[in-house]
Symmetry: C2
Subunit: 249 residues, 2 copies
């Protein structure tokens, strides 16, 4: 009996952003593994077992999924957004690398999804229309010195920037310091987009000049995008359009 | 009569990666505008006019789409991948900014898609599982000095990197120089992924140590991903898994 493990991206929240490939994988699964609110998106059906788990147990969850796949189950690990962008794919491969040799022979596939920064960018215009970088500000992943160095180099390189997990409850000062570094390093007053709950009914998109930003404009459900020095705003009468031109000099 | 303009991402090529949101927009369109091979993916039907155009006419194409929308048509501009990542969204907004005021009042929406680097990353494992940057190497967008500076800063920041449009016919030496800079700046021999025609029947994924890379391993249908200093390879007996852990020290 040959099992399988699929790591599937559910996109930012709206079912209209789930790819058909993921929908097919969910329909074939015997087991769904993931963080509680993502598993809650999957309808129950006969033959399907749901395994919702809490946040911050990504490695345990990964091992559980790998164990089930190795006994012949067809397991789907669900991730929000894209599983390869600050989500479950890296956690599963960390577990594979540290685990028993037979896990390396498993049929493991990653199915991409719409990651939050691209859904947010689409709502605001095209702020990531030229070179950009993507930084996870989550508190427990790396020392602050690494983040600060990366921010300063990214400003020098004139990337637009997307920030995931800007504000955590346990260390809210990280985003305060991030904004301080950016205000100091960016001479100009470029636009910052705060996109919360993108594609959900309670979505909000706010465009704020960098110098007017405050850390409490973001929480853990917000993705934040900072324009490059080239990013432009088109006033429309309704929400402004923020875009970065394709060319730079 | 109120028209509309949708800029829709078709993903990297396989219809299983087109979101339902995009499928609905295509079904409602009166006109489809885009580069010839992307428009060729849309089936003809009564009431739908296809407007395929050649490459390198993005601004003309955008103005044409805006003109049609302003006369009440429901126009979809199709893009490969995600329209906001080195694709048609920025071109349309450039045309809006330079165009007549009434274009700013149009109903314009961007629908995100699976961009090539995320489809490629999913095939290889999770090489973009931690902070990364995305750089367009297309020859005509910016001076080489801008690209070289950005590459060196991105290495210093220890980003994984995704490169779009690595090789153009008119200036193939750009990617030769890119690889020279990266080989010199990265002390270690990190993995490079050459992903060509991702999600299509003739897809190829090759993982090559940086020092062994050659420019002719890429063409304009290839997206190239370079690992960070933290990126790891899991040997499996079949294709290796390339992933970047979530944590860094």
């Amino acid at each position: 009996m040959t099992g399988s493990l699929v790591i599937a991206g559910l996109g930012p929240g709206n079912d209209a952003l789930v790819t058909p490939e993921v929908t097919v994988a969910l329909a074939r699964a015997t087991d769904i593994v993931g963080y509680i609110p993502y598993v809650a998106r999957i309808p129950a059906r006969p033959g399907l077992t749901l395994h919702p788990t809490d946040n911050r147990v990504e490695l345990d969850r990964s091992r559980h999924a790998l164990e089930m796949a190795s006994t012949g189950r067809h397991v789907v690990v669900v991730s929000s957004g894209d599983p390869g962008v600050f989500a479950m794919a890296a956690a599963v491969f960390e577990a594979v690398e540290a685990g028993p040799n037979e896990w390396r022979a498993l049929d493991i596939r990653v199915l991409p999804g719409i990651t939050a920064m691209l859904a947010a960018a689409a709502r605001a215009g095209a702020p990531l229309g030229h070179d950009f970088c993507t930084i996870n500000l989550s508190d427990n992943l790396k020392p602050w010195a690494v983040i600060e160095n990366r921010l300063r180099l990214a400003v020098q390189a004139d990337f637009a920037m997307a920030f995931y997990n800007p504000r955590s409850k346990s260390r809210p000062e990280g985003f305060v310091r991030t904004l301080e570094v950016l205000k100091e390093a960016c001479a100009d007053n470029r636009p910052v987009i705060f996109a919360r709950n993108v594609s959900r009914p309670d979505e909000t998109i706010n465009v704020v000049p960098l110098q007017d930003t405050q850390a409490d404009m973001a929480d853990m459900r917000t993705v934040v995008i900072l324009g490059s020095s080239q990013t432009r705003i088109i006033e429309t009468g309704a929400a402004p359009i923020v875009y970065t031109p394709r060319f730079s000099s």
